[in-house]
């Protein structure tokens, strides 16, 4: 057990009781977002670095050839993987993905998949041959809220992504043929509940203190994915209220990712 986390939890909780956050933000204020599209553009189809405060995540998109799922023979496919690289935090270790990285990847995947933002019908090539979109998330520096930073990086990288050039059924490496078809921009927002206070975009110290968190991914008019985490509870009223907050805050963030 890590004693420091308990001390930090006490400190953060007491601070919130006085109405303050550790970095001086308002309860509903997210950290500044910085987006660098095409961060590693020489080889990958698409890439982006997203900084959410001090948290840094790099997303890379690879588009390759694959076989469709038998129940959707005319749709392209997508997969999302997340690696909590040991470079990002002393808490991350080498080895197979653990439950946190599995959950992270699945929450990011759900937001993108369910919003239909990748136009998978346009990724059909011919019978038994479709484009496959791989979204790979690399955690580089963990200062909290990896879910939002990862999902934003994934979205920015998708918007940056190009389609490989296909000749005689083969991919010509290094040559591109238009953009990956994207129809909308799902935006995730994670809220944390500490004691009875709800804050937006928890940083790492606030994550040590959180009782529960709720991630809500929305497009312009629809909610597409949600995930509650943590050992605490939300009231039904809170779960309703946070939806409105998510829709509202997503607008600004969407502009940033799309620009």
């Amino acid at each position: 057990m890590d004693v420091t986390k308990y001390i930090v939890k006490d400190y953060i909780t007491n601070l919130l009781k006085e109405g303050r956050r550790v970095d001086g933000r308002k309860y509903d204020e997210a950290r500044p977002i910085e987006v660098v599209k095409g961060y590693a553009k020489e080889k990958s189809s698409g890439s982006a670095l997203v900084k959410l405060g001090d948290t840094q995540v790099i997303a890379g998109i690879s588009v390759g050839l694959g076989e469709p799922y038998s129940d959707r023979p005319t749709s392209g496919i997508m997969t999302t993987s997340a690696e909590l690289r040991p470079i990002a935090s002393p808490d991350f270790e080498l080895g197979p993905p653990r439950e946190n990285s599995v959950e992270l990847a699945r929450v990011v995947d759900r937001g993108i998949r369910e919003s239909g933002c990748i136009d998978v019908d346009k990724l059909f090539i011919e019978e038994n041959k479709v484009w496959t979109v791989f979204i790979d998330l690399h955690m580089m520096d963990n200062h909290g809220n990896l879910i939002d930073a990862s999902a934003l990086a994934a979205m920015a990288a998708l918007l940056d992504a190009r389609m490989p050039k296909l000749e005689d059924g083969k991919i010509i490496s290094g040559e591109w043929d238009g953009k990956l078809p994207i129809t909308c921009t799902p935006i995730p927002l994670t809220f944390a509940k500490i004691a009875d206070t709800i804050i937006a975009d928890p940083n790492m110290q606030e994550e040590y203190a959180l009782d529960a968190r709720l991630t809500i991914t929305t497009t312009e008019k629809e909610v597409n994915a949600m995930q509650k985490g943590g050992e605490g509870r939300f009231t039904i009223a809170e779960a309703e209220d946070l939806i409105d907050k998510a829709f509202k805050s997503a607008k600004q963030v969407r502009k940033k990712i799309e620009s």
Partner: protein, 240 residues
């Protein structure tokens, strides 16, 4: 969620399996179905069949995983290879790892973990037959198994899902509704305080549809809770 709205899933307020929009599938519950574990339960929820067992509190190994302030609730959701149409490869996949994680968190919210520092309370759930809604059936079953084991809890955990099919918000999606519907919202609550301990959503819902689905799922969970109470009281009467 494929959002394939071509498939007619509801017609004149009647669903494919004959249910009304706000109607649960048939649910059966039984306690103490296994002898070796401290507690166990069986739940049949439509065509879902799940069995849950509890071992512990017992010492947690390896030691560095122990928490000197409370017990760790470990939840293992496992689908039997024969539980689905196409055989599932045995062992944990990403989906079951995620379900195990969030279900463990949901149960930790109610178990009196402070009473048993340094220990683990192991909850194993085997899905023997899967037909949409297994995470809800499994978590409800696990909560019954914890009660059967006599593990002190502040409240039960009861789960139910609501979703959207052909633009209608309905309770407790069946298999076709899950495959061809537009959204699914699994929710687990603590019935005494009506707090949310598990909440997921995928698909497409407007603000108002979400609100309707959330509240419908909570109402559904409260109906399931009434069945849980009957099952628990029934088993106490038998033991006397």
């Amino acid at each position: 969620m494929s959002g394939n709205t071509d498939m007619k899933l509801i017609k004149n307020g009647v669903r494919l399996d004959g249910r009304k929009p706000e109607e649960l599938r048939e649910i059966k519950m039984e306690l103490g179905v296994l002898k070796r574990p401290q507690g166990s339960a069986y739940v049949e929820w439509g065509k879902n069949k799940v069995i849950a067992a509890v071992y512990g509190p017992r010492e947690l190994h390896p030691k560095f995983m122990q928490n000197p302030t409370k017990a760790v609730v470990r939840y293992t959701y496992n689908m039997a290879p024969f539980s689905v149409d196409d055989r599932k490869r045995p062992g944990p996949d990403r989906r079951s790892v995620e379900i195990s994680k969030i279900s463990s968190e949901a149960l930790t919210a109610v178990v009196e973990t402070e009473d048993y520092p340094n220990t683990v309370i192991d909850v194993f759930v085997e899905v023997l037959q899967a037909d949409a809604g297994t995470r809800c059936a499994a978590l409800t079953c696990a909560s019954l198994a914890l009660a059967d084991a006599g593990v002190p809890m502040k409240d039960m955990v009861v789960a139910c899902a609501a979703g959207k099919i052909n633009d209608h918000i309905v309770l407790d999606l069946g298999k076709e509704e899950d495959n061809f519907g537009q959204a699914d919202v699994p929710v687990a609550i603590t019935p005494l305080s009506k707090d949310i301990v598990l909440l997921q959503m995928d698909g497409k819902l407007t603000r108002d549809e979400y609100s309707k689905a959330l509240n419908l799922a909570v109402d559904g969970a409260m109906q399931v809770y009434e069945m849980m109470k009957k099952t628990l009281i029934g088993s106490l009467n038998r033991k006397e």
